[in-house]
């Protein structure tokens, strides 16, 4: 066989080349390879050497572009990348069916847990522990998928237990601000734990953290789509049931939503995992659309803030809005970075991103000056400190990103420096969220 090694290499290269035509599937390539080999064997039998026979056989196969066009007109559907959740091949199929079973079981488990929680916990407790109830199921799916080691599971269990104990045992005042803050920040800290599960415990790797950021974005898109589809189904059902003179609202509230929402989260995670290499990622596409629009929005805000002559009602509402705007800008930045070829030269879009960052920082600076004077007047509350703290973190993050982006545009730093800064800063938010959950309530007297 050694004499044919070169031929094998050539056939491999040919396969790889044919595979680049999207209209030609792997099975078609197999079929054509069989043909090619038969042709080569026949030609060799007539006295040609491997090299000549291969060249003649490839030539007789014809122009691959033309063949690919024929395949495309026969299988036009193939030009749309196909999502194969359960492949035909026996081995893969068994694994996929098992995965589907695991996903559905976990989705049902998450739903049932929320349903039971609604039944036995009072509303306050439920609000702040809902993340604790649902996210372990998502974590369990990822742990199963990544086959996490006991050590990683242990690492995940400890912070989870601490958060659970804090949320369950702290003597929160009813409807107090620290309770609301804890309820809002706990999912962020828990999400970081999901991230550790997602990257299979290798959370120190920048590339893996970026993958998790991508996963989060795609998950959000999928959840939104599932929610829209679900809303249509529920709406249609409710309409018909209503006509029949029955009231479906209690069923929706008590049964459908508690099962559907947590279930959708697990199913969406499964979809993101399954379609990873099938469909182009959508979050970066949305980023491209919304970056210029957000820039316009920020410029309008800047004009409004500076011409209004001082903010009349500069309360914590403004601060929270500012945080939301900065989070939006951060998201746009993160997903632009995640989808960019790090080796590509600086382009127009990078300039646009820098303008976006500049505008966001300017808007925040104006709002922050107004807020600081108010805080100096009325003192600190848990809410203000939480909002201000987040604002400071976002500012540091965005200023750092702006500096690195500028350096990249001027050819001083590689793009990689910016993407590493992005992913390295992410854990800071989780730590901050944990601080708000664990430290804030006792400091502010559980008010």
């Amino acid at each position: 066989m050694t004499t044919h090694t070169e031929l094998e290499v050539q056939i491999d290269q040919w396969r790889a080349y044919v595979r680049r035509h999207r209209a030609i599937s792997t099975a078609d390539v197999d079929e054509m390879e069989d043909h090619l080999r038969e042709r080569v064997a026949d030609l060799v039998a007539t006295g040609l050497d491997d090299q000549e026979a291969f060249l003649v056989a490839v030539r007789r196969m014809g122009s691959l572009d033309a063949v690919s066009r024929e395949f495309a007109s026969e299988h036009s559907d193939r030009l749309w990348k196909q999502l194969v959740l359960v492949p035909d091949q026996a081995d893969d199929a068994r694994r996929s069916w098992r995965e589907l079973a695991v996903v559905l079981a976990l989705a049902l488990g998450a739903g049932a847990t929320v349903r039971i929680g609604l039944g036995i916990l009072d509303e306050d407790v439920m609000t702040r522990t809902v993340g604790l109830l649902v996210l372990p199921f998502l974590g369990a799916y990822l742990a199963w998928k990544r086959q996490l080691t006991a050590r990683v599971l242990g690492v995940l269990a400890v912070p989870y237990a601490v958060l659970a104990l804090v949320l369950a045992l702290y003597p929160f005042g009813s409807a107090g601000t620290t309770l609301v803050l804890a309820a809002v920040h706990a999912p962020v800290a828990l999400w970081a734990l999901v991230g550790v599960a997602y990257v299979g415990g290798r959370w120190r790797s920048d590339a893996h953290r970026m993958d998790f950021a991508r996963f989060t974005g795609e998950l959000a898109v999928y959840l939104t789509l599932l929610a829209l589809g679900g809303a249509v189904l529920v709406g249609l059902t409710a309409g018909v049931v209503d006509l029949a003179g029955m009231d479906i609202e209690p069923a929706i509230e008590n049964w459908i939503l508690p099962f559907a929402v947590p279930g959708a989260l697990v199913v969406a995670a499964w979809l993101v995992e399954a379609k990873q290499d099938v469909v182009e990622n959508i979050a970066p596409v949305l980023t491209r659309v919304f970056t210029p629009l957000t820039l316009v929005m920020l410029l309008v805000l800047l004009a409004v803030l500076t011409t209004a002559g001082g903010l009349v009602d500069a309360d914590r509402g403004l601060l929270i809005l500012m945080d939301a705007i900065l989070v939006l800008v951060l998201g746009l930045l993160l997903y632009s970075v995640s989808a960019r070829d790090p080796l590509a030269r600086p382009g127009l879009f990078d300039g646009l991103l820098l303008a976006l960052l500049g505008a966001a920082l300017a808007v925040d600076a104006v709002a922050l000056t107004a807020m600081l004077t108010r805080i100096a007047e009325f003192g600190f509350s848990a809410n203000k400190v939480a909002a201000l703290g987040l604002n400071v973190l976002l500012l540091v993050h965005l200023v750092g990103a702006a500096v690195l982006l500028l350096a990249f545009l001027r050819g001083r730093r590689p793009f990689d420096a910016l993407s590493r800064w992005q992913t390295r800063f992410l854990p800071v938010y989780a730590v901050w969220a944990a601080v708000v959950v664990v430290v804030f309530p006792p400091v502010f007297g559980f008010e």
Binding site: A27, E31, M32, R39, G62, V67, E70, E74
Partner: protein, 120 residues
């Protein structure tokens, strides 16, 4: 002799169906059979056979199954279906009409060779 592309394309379906009517076969063998039957004068681009076979399969004229060659390679075998046989009979009738009509045309245009040379 070069045969026009459209003519080759028109003949492709009945040829493939006819060859499969003799018995189950696979791509390369079908092409070899075509070459043999036409004395090497009817030449296809090899790659084009496969989209054609897939089209015939979609139309339900042939069915396919993955098997393996003598050397154990994956190989897709095609067999004609009852629908395919019906289509083949139909095509045969159509081609008979065309061939008969052409035969008469050839007969009537049989011009003296001297004139033909004069044109050239």
């Amino acid at each position: 002799m070069h045969i026009e592309k459209d003519l080759v394309a028109a003949a492709a379906t009945p040829l493939v169906l006819g060859i499969l009517a003799e018995g189950e076969s696979y791509g390369y063998a079908i092409l070899k059979r075509v070459t043999d039957m036409s004395g090497g004068r009817l030449q296809w681009t090899d790659g084009m056979l496969y989209p054609l076979l897939h089209r015939l399969e979609r139309l339900g004229y042939v069915s396919s199954a993955w098997g393996s060659s003598d050397t154990g390679r994956r190989r897709k075998h095609y067999a004609i279906t009852p629908t395919g046989r019906e289509v083949l009979v139909e095509r045969q009738a159509q081609w008979a009409v065309v061939a008969a009509a052409l035969q008469q045309v050839w007969h009537s245009v049989q011009t003296p060779p001297a004139v033909a040379e004069g044109w050239a």
